[in-house]
Symmetry: C2
């Protein structure tokens, strides 16, 4: 499956009052190579293994394969992951016909909030909420795989 | 699950006449890091994703987690793998109470044949067939993950 996602910074936490769902996410990476990431994720009561390919030139489309796994297996696999486990809360917020996934990070990425919206095509339009900041689609340092290697707290600018 | 395996070289192809099963295997690696390998394998008509942890000091036990996946998915995932896809035929050969898995490699690993036996404990005894050669348990260069990076044809000794 190819996914088209656009990613934005978040200017305020006004999105929290508008969220219809809130989910705890714990995740690690078995590989963070830009050509093939392998992610283990515990999302609420479920767990998944996800393989993503290289992002295309525009930073919009990427091969993605996901399989549900047992939560207990996921914990064992997270123990094997590269250093830099990511701990975040995901808020789901409706905006017009679309749903934004807004991630608030903890631990070494505390202070970072990122919103993503999934689109059907690279040109599809969508309503921009007030709290939505600068677009960072395709900026590798905001990839979770990179946040686990070089967390927000260690950024210089 | 922890597996205990001992690995040997193979002196002749006499094992082929004794095999009760022969399976084509095509596999690639999404990660070949010694602490966490992620393997995609197509084995006959089935396919699997397998994560292995670091081998213990003696080279005998290793964390292993495996999940069956769709064969079509496996082909897409193999396309994402690191260079060095492994193509081999596996022969299953009984020896006393045990079964040897003997792999004959093709492509860049042509000429290499390796036999493995799975044991219940690190001290369990087993019958050694005539065709069984030197033990190479724990020798990293015989790991499939390493054969995909540095194939048999490129070995100097």
């Amino acid at each position: 499956m190819i996914e088209i996602e656009r990613k934005f910074l978040v200017k305020s936490d006004a999105f929290k009052d508008k969220a219809y769902k809130k989910i705890a996410i714990l995740q690690g990476f078995l590989n963070t190579h830009p050509n093939r990431t392998v992610r283990v994720r515990i999302k609420g009561e479920k767990a998944y293994l996800t393989v993503k390919g290289k992002t295309n030139k525009e930073g919009l489309t990427r091969f993605e394969w996901e399989k549900e796994i047992k939560k207990t297996d996921a914990h064992s696999l997270i123990d094997l992951c590269e250093p830099g486990i990511i701990d975040k809360t995901r808020y789901l917020v409706k905006s017009g016909k679309h749903t934004f996934e807004v991630d608030e990070f903890f631990g070494d990425n505390q202070g970072l909030m990122v919103a993503e919206v999934e689109l059907k095509s690279e040109t599809e339009d969508f309503e921009k909420p007030d709290w939505l900041g600068r677009e960072v689609t395709g900026d590798v340092k905001y990839y979770n795989s990179q946040l686990s290697k070089k967390p927000f707290k260690k950024w210089e600018d």
